[in-house]
């Protein structure tokens, strides 16, 4: 199925036997049922931890006939493939940088000493994907922190080393790696066998009510066994191989544009090969202190974000952010030109959320977030403007996305429903 429905560009070809054994940690939950005649939906979530200067991003006019702003001019070619959303944010997000932790979760009061995070959109969707892809999701970062959190509100350790990500996706493990993974699966089976034999011994000795409780455990053993089985079948399937050279050196910390561009390329490859359908990327603040290698820029990215409306700083900030939007345009171009099925672009199947956890990075304001949604089977080409005083919950947009992805979901997190005005194609 995998290789039939994906019409990859020439650079991709499937080669003979190659094995990659997923780590036990990444074993995915229940097997998803899927309509095989349709190409699957995908979602990308890209968060810019240091904001995006609003006046250069948000159009003045609402609806379809808005005038392009300086930033949007960089992606004008895809105007009908994206929607700009204003007047949207997480209620009680908390202040500043900490809110990147809850950008995909909507958990309130990030950064407060008693903050407790909740499940992120991508992780909820990953449960739905199950073992249909080799990896249920990828969580990436340009520096340190990531966007994906488990149902317990624990951050999934993000990956950032492009070479390692490339190896994980496309390179057969060394015989030693394969042996140790096989080994680990065998040990998992051995443990499950042990539990099963103890459960059956116990069963005979227990009163009826207690037996019911242990039946749950027996079911759990069976479910985990199924997951091991899925993991094994992925082990046996060859990894897709791409002719692209493995990424070499990750640009230095301050080159956030170079770093994100490199990760964008990997993200496209991962989607094209259907290695995963869900990717999150946080361009976090950590790289913010160094001066980006961009002409006319002499201050660090983080310092510039606190421009305090100083014109000299704003001018530099614009240069940086425009460079970042150019990189984003590159991502959209790759997604658009990759065809899935005749007449169907990868972009058409992929919801791309691009934005920030800060509406005004200069004052660490977490309302009125810059949010752009591209692709993924929605009617685009407009500026959807909501009340800037009384923002709609960002989780409404997440609810719309989850539903488009095929997850039957009640309003996600603090959402109250789907996002008004965003229509499916």
């Amino acid at each position: 199925m995998l290789h039939k429905t994906i019409h990859r560009r020439a650079l991709l070809r499937v080669t003979g036997v190659s094995l990659f054994l997923p780590l036990f940690e990444s074993l995915s939950p229940a097997v998803a049922t899927e309509n095989q005649s349709q190409s699957p939906r995908r979602m990308l979530f890209i968060c810019r931890g240091l904001g995006l200067h609003g006046p250069d991003f948000f159009p003045q006019q609402t609806g379809r006939d808005y005038e392009l702003t300086p930033y949007l001019k960089e992606i004008a070619a895809y105007r009908n493939q994206f929607t700009i959303i204003s007047g949207i944010s997480h209620p009680n997000a908390g202040s500043g940088h900490a809110a990147e932790l809850s950008w995909l979760t909507g958990a309130p009061h990030a950064g407060s000493p008693s903050f407790k995070n909740s499940v992120s959109v991508d992780q909820l969707a990953a449960e739905h994907v199950g073992s249909a892809t080799r990896y249920p999701f990828l969580s990436l970062t340009t520096h340190n922190s990531g966007l994906s959190t488990t149902r317990n509100g624990v951050q999934v350790p993000p990956e950032k080393d492009p070479a390692a990500i490339f190896r994980k996706l496309f390179v057969t493990g060394t015989p030693q790696e394969i042996r140790s993974q096989e080994h680990r699966l065998r040990q998992g089976r051995s443990i499950l066998d042990s539990i099963r034999s103890e459960l059956s011994q116990l069963e005979g000795t227990l009163p009826a009510a207690d037996r019911q409780l242990l039946e749950q455990y027996t079911t759990a053993v069976r479910d985990v066994e199924q997951r091991l089985h899925n993991a094994e079948s992925w082990m046996e399937k060859p990894k897709p191989r791409v002719d692209a050279d493995p990424p070499t050196e990750f640009p230095p910390s301050e080159d956030i544009v170079g770093r994100s561009a490199m990760l964008y390329d990997l993200m496209v490859l991962a989607l094209q090969t259907d290695s995963t359908r869900l990717i999150t990327l946080l361009m976090d603040q950590a790289g913010g202190n160094g001066v980006p290698p961009i002409e006319g820029v002499s201050e660090g990215r983080h310092g510039l974000s606190h421009h305090g409306m100083d014109e000299a700083k704003l001018a530099q900030l614009r240069r940086v952010e425009i460079a970042e939007l150019k990189a984003f345009a590159g991502l959209l171009e790759k997604l658009k030109s990759a065809t899935e099925a005749p007449g169907q672009s990868l972009l058409g199947q992929t919801m791309v959320l691009y934005g920030s956890n800060m509406g005004n990075a200069s004052s660490h304001d977490t309302r009125n977030l810059p949010i752009l949604l591209a692709g993924g089977g929605f009617k685009h080409g407009q500026h959807l403007a909501f009340d800037r005083q009384r923002n709609v919950p960002l989780s409404n947009l997440f609810t719309s996305m989850l539903q488009r992805f095929g997850v039957e979901v009640d309003p996600f997190s603090s959402g109250a429903g789907t996002l008004n005005g965003l229509e499916e194609v």
């Binding site: 036990f24 940690e25 074993l27 939950p29 202040s95 500043g96 932790l101 009061h109 990030a110 950064g111 407060s112 000493p113 008693s114 903050f115 407790k116 340190n144 922190s145 149902r151 317990n152 509100g153 624990v154 951050q155 080994h183 040990q187 998992g188 051995s190 443990i191 042990s194 539990i195 034999s197 103890e198 116990l202 000795t205 227990l206 009163p207 009826a208 009510a209 207690d210 019911q212 409780l213 242990l214 749950q216 455990y217 079911t219 759990a220 053993v221 479910d223 985990v224 997951r227 950590a286 202190n289 001066v291 660090g300 983080h302 310092g303 606190h306 305090g308 004052s363 660490h364 304001d365």
Partner: protein, 828 residues
């Protein structure tokens, strides 16, 4: 903590029957279908009463309250029928049914009905307990699992974040029916077992443990040039110290985080900057991520300086984070803007407002008792991992398994695990193979479940029940050896062991878990008070009010004080911040201590404590209904049935137009509502004098803009930097104005008919019945200790516990002893 919706309890539970009324009522309908024949099996004395008193309304046509009593099955062996009839009995016994407005059968008919029904229910439950046992088997909850790993393997890391959250039933995460197991659980148990074994098994040389002192000065190399220019306002550089004016970048200059996971000792030398003593928050964990760092404590530093020592576990790269609090505003935005606005001429190096001058920090670690560490030695003894054999594996497992399973093992059971080792050893070295066997043991139902056959608990099961009650962890060697010798059942030894366990530091787990759930302290941050209405709420108050209630519980427990102290006490456990909040003078500093309260202070007892008052409100408003239900269930042990479906909640109007009392009065004029609300509302009304953060109020605060009628609210923790920068003479805390709404009316009438006009009178009325408090607490302790709520036929045992406790003036410690010595505790 989210509580799960639990199914109708499978066991015959009195509390369950009451709590699940609503569901039970729905079940009446389904049960009644086709049960005509069965209805005639009802004993005559019961049918006679029902015919006279019930069928008029509760028949197949009317089914008032969704109850068709005419056709309700009397096969009470069925759990649903049982709880339905138990409910019927309770309502009649309490005089709620038939309604006062109806003709009631003669007393002897009613009594005969109650006796016959009671006998039937009692016998049925007794019989059920003899066959099935009283308590369900249950798995360890997340805390117990963590503590058990800690004690079994001597691991230090907190593994709880990797485990699914536990369900709760009857208020506790100890109840078998709510502690489900799924594939997620099993998978995290498998991973955690592997990680914990990796943590404890030392394969390398001893890590280098050293002590380094880091002088705190501005260091451009350390912070980065750009950063300094940006946030200069946040730091002042002095010849011997770095002065912090906020909690930006809480790094220790020069320190790069823990080189390896382990215990570390920090000694922080700092002094208050700018005059008065400064309070500080001390956190440990990830330097950048507030989600993976935790508050260790709050401390204070005087102008002359002080060394604060903190020993804590750190993961690799974790660090200690020390920051002054209350320096300038609360939110980041507030702080930054405030300071930047006055940036012209502002120099952090000469600024004389409050700050924390950090002089140096000493870091020592990783600390370990021995190498290999104790956990490794306990696991492997003298076994040399490089040359170990099958015989060594058998020796290791023979030692380990009884500790893990908390009982003696048969030879076959040991062989089962040796076989796992042997199979794994075919293609692995000793260490890898023994790990598989150990990992399997840590995923075994014998490790994960607390379980015993029906009847009296054997000594091992008793040891587990005792240690999971008081330590939330496995029995230690002393308990286990007493169990192995068959001595633990002796009442005197059991009493001695109870005392020993209560005195052990591990008993802190009992305090945390029991108060965390009985008094809902774990919900302290479930809501954040609206900062326009309650600007004085701050992180120190949140932390302190939880400490207050925990310390209060400890005080009552330690000194065997009467449980009536939970309602009224002549002391409180306070620090400066709490005392400010309560308007009690002369308490200084962050440390909590026992304070004698003035006569008629509203603060003695948990209902006057900010923690309880906060968890029973929603951050913006308090509802007498919700608080009333809370008092009924948590303190008086009288669970209140859920409202009938389709009844909208009564919500306070924060614009202040109509009072909640007016809304409720309307509500109570309906007979159907009045039955329950006559019980629910009075405690809620009495507590209206306390606002959502536990402050005393004469009037409600209002979200309106009418500042004609407003009060000034002082934020004692928070320094008003803006005013200070304008005029240093105007030094002081930040103040705000909040509009006032309607006057509070805290009067009410108890179901007994007794009226009260305020909280103190209400409290006095409740104190007249200390037995009710003792009985309620007994029921909670039984649920907590046995993992199963009070059952129908438990009442003699409960009566006996309460009666004996009365002889000891209802002392809490005595009560715990009585629970442990009771048949309920000693049997499955």
């Amino acid at each position: 903590m989210q509580s799960v919706r639990t199914p109708l309890p499978k066991k015959f539970s009195l509390q369950g029957a009451l709590r699940f009324t609503c569901m039970a009522l729905v079940f009446f309908r389904s049960l009644s279908f086709g049960f005509n024949a069965l209805a005639s099996d009802i004993p005559a004395v019961i049918r006679e009463f029902a015919k006279q008193a019930c069928y008029d309304c509760h028949n197949a046509d009317t089914q008032e309250g969704d109850l068709n009593l005419e056709e309700l099955s009397f096969e009470v062996e069925d759990a649903k029928a049982f709880s339905a009839w138990a409910k019927v009995k309770q309502r009649v016994q309490d005089g709620e049914m038939p309604p006062q407005s109806e003709d009631r059968p003669a007393a002897e008919i009613t009594n005969a009905f109650l006796t016959a029904l009671d006998t039937k229910l009692y016998d049925t439950d007794k019989h059920h307990q003899s066959i099935e046992g009283r308590a369900l088997a249950r798995r360890l909850n997340r805390d117990e699992y963590q503590n058990t790993l800690r004690d079994l393997l001597r691991v230090l890391k907190d593994y709880r974040p990797g485990l699914p959250e536990d369900g709760r039933s009857l208020g506790f995460d100890k109840v078998g029916s709510a502690l489900s197991v799924s594939a997620e659980h099993l998978q995290s148990y498998m991973l955690t077992a592997r990680d914990a074994l990796n943590e404890v098994i030392a394969t390398g040389p001893a890590p280098d443990s050293k002590l380094v002192r880091y002088q705190q000065r501005w260091d451009v190399k350390h912070f980065g040039k750009d950063f300094y220019s940006r946030f200069a306002w946040s730091f002042g550089d002095q010849p011997d110290a770095l002065v912090r004016f906020g909690d930006f970048v809480e790094r220790i200059v020069g320190y790069r985080g823990a080189p390896v996971a382990g215990m570390y000792r920090f000694r922080v030398k700092a002094r208050a900057w700018g005059g008065e003593t400064v309070k500080a928050r001390i956190k440990a964990g990830d330097e950048r991520n507030s989600n993976t760092s935790w508050v260790v404590t709050y401390a204070e530093f005087p102008p002359e300086g002080k060394v604060v020592e903190v020993t804590t576990y750190l993961r690799k790269k974790d660090t200690l984070r020390v920051s002054p609090i209350g320096i300038a505003g609360t939110g980041t935005q507030h702080r930054v803007e405030q300071m930047l606005k006055v940036k012209a001429g502002f120099d952090a190096n000469t600024y004389q407002g409050p700050g924390l001058a950090m002089e140096w920090v000493e870091v020592e670690g990783p600390l370990y008792e021995s190498w290999p560490p104790p956990g490794h030695q306990r696991l492997f003894g003298e076994v040399n991992l490089d040359i170990a054999t099958h015989a060594d594996a058998e020796r290791v497992l023979r030692e380990f398994l009884p500790r893990a399973f908390r009982r003696a093992l048969t030879q076959d059971e040991v062989v089962h695990y040796v076989n796992i080792y042997d199979r794994a050893a075919k293609d692995s070295n000793f260490l890898a193979a023994i790990k598989v066997a150990l990992q399997a043991a840590l995923c075994s139902p014998y490790f994960l479940y607390l379980n015993a056959p029906p009847g009296a608990l054997d000594d091992f099961a008793l040891a587990s029940r005792l240690s999971y009650f008081l330590w939330s962890s496995a029995p230690d060697d002393e308990l286990t050896s007493l169990a192995a010798n068959g001595q633990l059942r002796q009442p005197e030894i059991l009493r001695e062991q109870t005392e020993r366990l209560l005195k052990d530091p591990k008993a802190a787990a009992f305090n945390e878990s029991f108060t965390g759930q009985w008094l809902d302290l774990r919900k302290i941050n479930a809501t954040t008070p609206d900062d326009r209405l309650y600007p004085e709420w701050d992180e120190l108050l949140e932390w302190s009010c939880v400490q207050e209630t925990r310390s209060f519980f400890d005080e009552v427990l330690l000194n065997d004080l009467s449980v009536t102290n939970f309602m009224q006490s002549d002391f409180a456990i306070l620090n400066e911040r709490l005392a400010q909040h309560y308007g009690i003078p002369d308490v200084k500093g962050v440390a909590l201590r026992k304070v004698k309260l003035p006569t008629d202070s509203v603060r003695g007892g948990v209902l006057g404590q900010a923690s309880v008052l906060k968890v029973t409100a929603n951050g913006t408003t308090s509802s007498p209904v919700l608080r009333g239900v809370w008092v009924q269930e948590h303190l008086l042990g009288k669970p209140v049935p859920a409202p009938p479906p389709g009844v909208p909640a009564v919500e306070p109007d924060i614009r202040g137009a109509t009072s909640i009392r007016e809304q409720l009065d309307k509500h109570r004029s309906d007979d159907n509502c009045a039955v329950c609300h006559a019980k629910i509302d009075p405690p809620g009304f009495a507590l209206e004098s306390f606002d959502v953060i536990g402050g005393w109020r004469e009037s409600y605060r209002s979200a309106g803009n009418d500042m004609q009628n407003s009060i000034q609210v002082v934020r004692p923790l928070t320094f008003d930097a803006r005013t200070f920068l304008r005029d240093p003479a105007l030094r002081g805390p930040l103040k705000s104005r909040v509009a006032q709404g309607q006057i509070v009316d805290a009067s009410g009438q108890l179901p007994s008919g007794e009226s009260f006009t305020n909280y103190l009178e209400f409290r006095r009325a409740l104190l007249a019945e200390p037995e009710q408090l003792a009985r309620a607490l007994t029921q909670h302790l039984i649920t907590y200790a046995t993992g199963t709520g009070p059952q129908y036929s438990d009442r003699e045992s409960i009566d006996q516990i309460v009666a004996r406790s009365r002889n000891q003036a209802y002392g809490l410690r005595s009560l715990i002893h009585e629970v442990i010595q009771s048949p309920i505790f000693l049997n499955k």
